[in-house]
């Protein structure tokens, strides 16, 4: 059911805009940000609010999980009505895993950073992907450690410079290539400054069931926005190279736009939504892992930051589906279903005699 926008007129009382479940965008807001003015993370928080509002997700059905770092603070700045768990450095994936085992009916949104993911959290990041845990995992990627004042992270490009002039002499870990190789079922990269692309990608992520890895380049205005940085606003404006143009038609809207199969890949998502990916690169094929990794590597060699949805597989079962659990959340099953009767214990005892 589509929401018809109400256009306010000067004499009519201003109607409150609501989404398909009757909530206002206000219902998706969070606390006041304590991050720096201009921080890319704040823009990402805004897009998260927009995406969940526009998709009409009940905030109480969402779990926000994070690790440690500037990025991981941000769940306090959006969706106050959602349940939030700010855990320990680099280990949010395990907390999310446990939470989803306890209640597989919830939507999980993980917010991490490049340090939280690609250094201290690498172990849990790769195993989350390998399991295809149903979570939207956002890496707010600025190439530096902000809270400890600007050391390089493992996603910083080789040759990029710190404000102090220190040059990074180690290669970057490409979280997207890694995620594609390890079996993530939705992998994309965006830029906090690209509202349209990021919003469409987040909405598609909400429609997906499985591990979504979104690496969002999010400049750190305080420690990594200078000349010589490859994570600055300026660098991104000059080197952002979209691989496709994203169109997203949610499951509750009628499809009224035709597309040309020759130029556009149409992906039907798990919840019935449609992701339309108009090719901007010749050999773009978001269903082919090898091509996706190859495109990423070539773009990187050419000094471009490739953005867009690189890979998507809406069919692979998610981790919680593989476990063959009862339909209701395990965490709140009644005693009658979690404690076998006395006869069972007696028979076990009998066998041990």
């Amino acid at each position: 059911m589509a929401t018809t926008p109400v256009i306010p007129t000067p004499d009519a009382p201003r109607a409150v805009k609501t989404n398909r479940i009757g909530l206002q965008v206000l219902d998706y807001r969070g606390g006041k940000t304590t991050l720096c003015a201009g921080c890319g993370h704040n823009a990402i928080s805004e897009r998260i609010i927009d995406a969940f509002y526009e998709m009409g997700v009940q905030p109480e059905r969402v779990m926000k999980l994070s690790g440690i770092g500037c990025s991981s603070k941000s769940p306090a700045y959006f969706m106050n009505r959602s349940f939030s768990f700010n855990s320990v450095h680099g280990r949010m994936p395990s907390v999310a895993t446990g939470a989803l085992l306890a209640n597989q009916t919830m939507k999980a949104l993980g917010v991490s950073g490049d340090g939280d993911t690609a250094s201290i959290g690498m172990g849990q990041f790769v195993h989350m992907i390998r399991r295809n845990l149903p979570i939207i995992y956002i890496i707010e990627d600025n190439g530096v450690y902000g809270l400890t004042k600007g050391q390089f992270s493992a996603t910083a490009d080789i040759g990029s410079k710190l404000k102090t002039g220190v040059v990074n002499d180690l290669p970057a870990i490409d979280t997207c290539s890694l995620a594609i190789q390890l079996g993530a079922t939705f992998v994309g990269r965006s830029f906090s400054g690209d509202k349209k692309q990021l919003l469409a990608m987040l909405k598609a992520a909400i429609a997906h069931n499985g591990t979504v890895v979104l690496d969002v380049i999010s400049p750190c205005v305080t420690f990594n926005d200078h000349e010589g940085s490859t994570r600055s606003y300026k660098y991104m404006q000059e080197h952002d190279e979209p691989i496709s143009e994203l169109g997203f038609v949610p499951h509750f809207q009628e499809i009224d736009v035709e597309y040309d199969p020759g130029t556009t890949v149409n992906v039907q998502m798990h919840d019935g939504s449609h992701l339309r990916l108009r090719k901007l690169h010749e050999d773009y094929d978001p269903t082919d892992r090898v091509k996706a990794v190859s495109s990423l590597m070539s773009a990187h060699e050419g000094g471009e930051v490739l953005t867009g949805v690189f890979f998507v597989d809406p069919k692979k079962p998610s981790f919680t589906e593989l476990l063959n659990l009862v339909d209701e959340p395990l965490g709140t099953l009644p005693e009658s279903r979690t404690r076998p009767g006395k006869a069972v214990l007696d028979s076990v005892m009998q066998q041990l005699m």
């Binding site: 109480e60 320990v88 994936p93 907390v95 895993t97 446990g98 085992l101 172990g123 979690t338 069972v344």
Partner: protein, 623 residues
């Protein structure tokens, strides 16, 4: 050359009274139902089934029995020993002295033979000619290979079947009831009838050989009793795993580590049988983690989202879990961690016994962190305290550690059958949407009733005021980030209050006191068995009466203080070098009580035995 010769280690432990339990050889006197058998084999030789059949046959004869696997951290090739103790008096601790040796390992048999006390008996491979080393031991040489070949045409099975020959030989020499041996063997092989037949033939071959060739030269015999009827045999890890099934545990995430692995495996096995619904869907999820960091992270994630969740680990895993343990304490999230302790420090002795993680677990994590420990002292308590751990974790909203150990966890113990839980599952202070609507909201960390325990909501609770922000950073009553000194202090003081409330809910110690003794013994966990036996030795052999308190939990309860106050000297018996439990007691007791504390420690990796406790006590008492 073996470097971990248990037989030698036992022999070399010293002790002025070691000979007290040594049986003097006598052709007249019979020693009935009171001796130990040690079977020395090579790891990976498949002796486990034979040893189990021997143990369970004795059990079926109604004789109290215990078995201990003293094994190396190795898959195959290193020496391993299995000891079986039959005790008419019901003593189930390790017996320091070996009475009967079954020597099957060429690498150790000379040393094994040399370590026997005078008057012992030895069954061994004929070609080893162990008689050359000792003329004071009853010798029974057996041509194992020849006998095996005769009953087992298939060459590749002979290595396994060979072990059953010694079961038959021992059965004959010990005057065992073959009508008890056969059902024990048939149960061991369950539905594998062909394997059972083959192995039974081997047992009979051994029995027949002994009948035809040996004259009884040692005093050890078994006679039927009626002391095991209605009892079960189980290991502590299986008991704890079963406890988790009946505790309503729904999420387990773990990383395999000796000696805890079989706990989760038992949970999986029982849960697959008893926690799968008619449509084939499971009411539990078990995930093998990438490491212990992830295991504890998932336990907390699941506990936060409403599940009864657990993990099982041992020392190194406990170390890795430290950071999350502090988060669990501070963010107040229920979860259960089984620590099946082994020898430390570091990798230490992965397959040997210790109780040396107490201090690490009690204060696991940085900052002012303290935890609740439950300490089972029997397989029955492994079951009961597993259930209690989940109850307490949710009542107190905190991680709870269950401190088992290798001896308790991996060895078979005789026990009364377990009782069905006598109280329904209680999920603690969890607010529903209806309750929230009625109350008009809630403050997660507000102390409403003086217990220090706040109310919590679970993700998915359908009310706009249900959500709160869980964090490891300091927070106020409403779970909002705050570094205000007053908010911080108020919150951590409430945690102290909550810990004091937890103290009132802890399982009470078990006290055995006659009210006149000046000496009190304190022990816990698997040290209980040796301590009980030692008390009898002290009374019978030294006329020294003692009172006894067995701890079941930390923080300590009032009973502990009363016990210490009412005795002149307190001996704390434990299996670690640093007297860790005594250290915890020191923190709790007043200075005038602390000076009463003395320490009896046993930490060489072998399960503690009564004789070592008795000798140490006698020395310290100056008797």
């Amino acid at each position: 050359m073996a470097t971990e010769n248990v037989a030698l280690a036992a022999g070399g432990e010293g002790g002025s009274q070691a000979q007290a339990d040594t049986q003097q050889q006598s052709s007249q006197a019979r020693i009935v139902n009171d001796f130990s058998i040690q079977i020395a084999t090579v790891n990976g030789s498949g002796s486990q089934s034979a040893n189990s059949v021997l143990l369970k046959s004795i059990f079926r004869m109604g004789i109290p029995v215990s078995g201990k696997n003293l094994f190396p951290s190795n898959i195959a090739g290193l020496p391993t020993w299995y000891t079986i103790r039959a005790s008419k008096d019901g003593y189930v601790a390790r017996k320091k002295e070996i009475d009967i040796l079954i020597a099957m390992n060429a690498d150790t048999w000379q040393e094994d033979m040399m370590s026997l006390p005078k008057g012992a008996a030895a069954i061994y491979e004929e070609s080893a000619n162990l008689k050359q080393y000792r003329d004071d031991v009853a010798c029974y040489p057996v041509p194992f290979d020849k006998l095996t070949a005769a009953v087992c045409p298939e060459a590749k099975l002979r290595k396994l079947v060979k072990n059953m020959i010694y079961v038959g030989v021992a059965a004959k020499l010990l005057n065992m009831d073959m009508a008890a041996v056969e059902p024990a063997l048939r149960k061991q092989f369950a539905k594998k009838v062909k394997a059972a037949d083959l192995n039974w033939a081997a047992v009979q071959a051994g029995y027949d050989y002994a009948t035809a060739n040996f004259t009884k030269q040692d005093p050890f015999v078994l006679e039927p009793m009626n002391e095991t009827e209605g009892k079960i045999i189980i290991d502590g890890n299986a008991a704890a795993g079963l406890g988790c099934v009946f505790a309503g545990c729904t999420v387990a995430m773990w990383y395999p580590i000796t000696p805890s692995t079989s706990l989760v495996e038992a949970f999986i096995e029982y849960a697959k049988k008893y926690r799968v619904e008619e449509n084939g869907k499971a009411t539990f999820a078990v995930v093998q983690a990438e490491d212990e960091l992830a295991a504890i992270g998932a336990v907390l994630g699941a506990g936060w989202a409403g599940a009864r969740s657990m993990t099982a680990t041992s020392g190194p895993g406990i170390s890795l879990m430290a950071e999350f343990a502090g988060l669990g304490y501070y963010a107040e999230i229920p979860g259960v961690i089984f620590d099946v302790q082994r020898g430390g420090p570091s990798t230490g002795m992965p397959t040997r016994n210790q109780q040396s993680d107490l201090l690490a677990a009690a204060f696991l994590s940085h900052g002012d962190t303290k935890h609740i420990l439950l300490i089972p002292g029997s397989v029955k308590e492994c079951f009961e305290l597993a259930i209690e751990a989940f109850e307490l974790a949710e009542a107190i909203q905190t991680p709870v550690f269950v401190m088992s150990d290798l001896d308790l966890g991996m060895n078979n113990w005789m026990s009364e059958p377990f009782d069905y839980p006598d109280k329904p599952i209680s999920r603690g202070k969890v607010l529903t949407a209806e309750e929230l609507a009625k109350a008009g909201g809630f403050a997660r960390y507000k102390d409403l009733d003086g217990t220090g325990v706040g109310q919590r909501t679970l993700p998915g609770t359908d009310h706009p005021l249900a959500a709160y922000f869980t964090r490891g950073t300091s927070h106020n009553e409403k779970a909002v980030y705050s570094e205000r000194p007053d908010d911080y202090v108020k919150n951590v003081e409430r945690l102290t209050k909550k810990y004091e409330y937890a103290r009132t809910l802890m399982p009470r110690p078990e006290i055995v006191a006659n009210g006149t003794s000046k000496i009190g013994l304190i022990a816990f966990g698997s040290s209980d068995f040796a301590t009980r036996e030692s008390r009898d030795q002290l009374t019978k052999q030294y006329g020294l009466a003692t009172d006894y308190l067995r701890l079941k939990a930390y923080p300590f309860t009032r009973e502990l203080h009363d016990f210490v106050a009412s005795h002149e000297r307190i001996y704390v018996i434990e299996q670690n070098r640093d007297a860790q439990m005594l250290s915890l007691l020191k923190l709790d007791l007043n200075p005038e009580e602390v000076v009463k504390l003395r320490s009896v420690r046993h930490f060489n990796g072998l399960p503690i035995d009564a004789r070592s406790v008795t000798d140490e006590l006698v020395t310290q008492e100056g008797i």
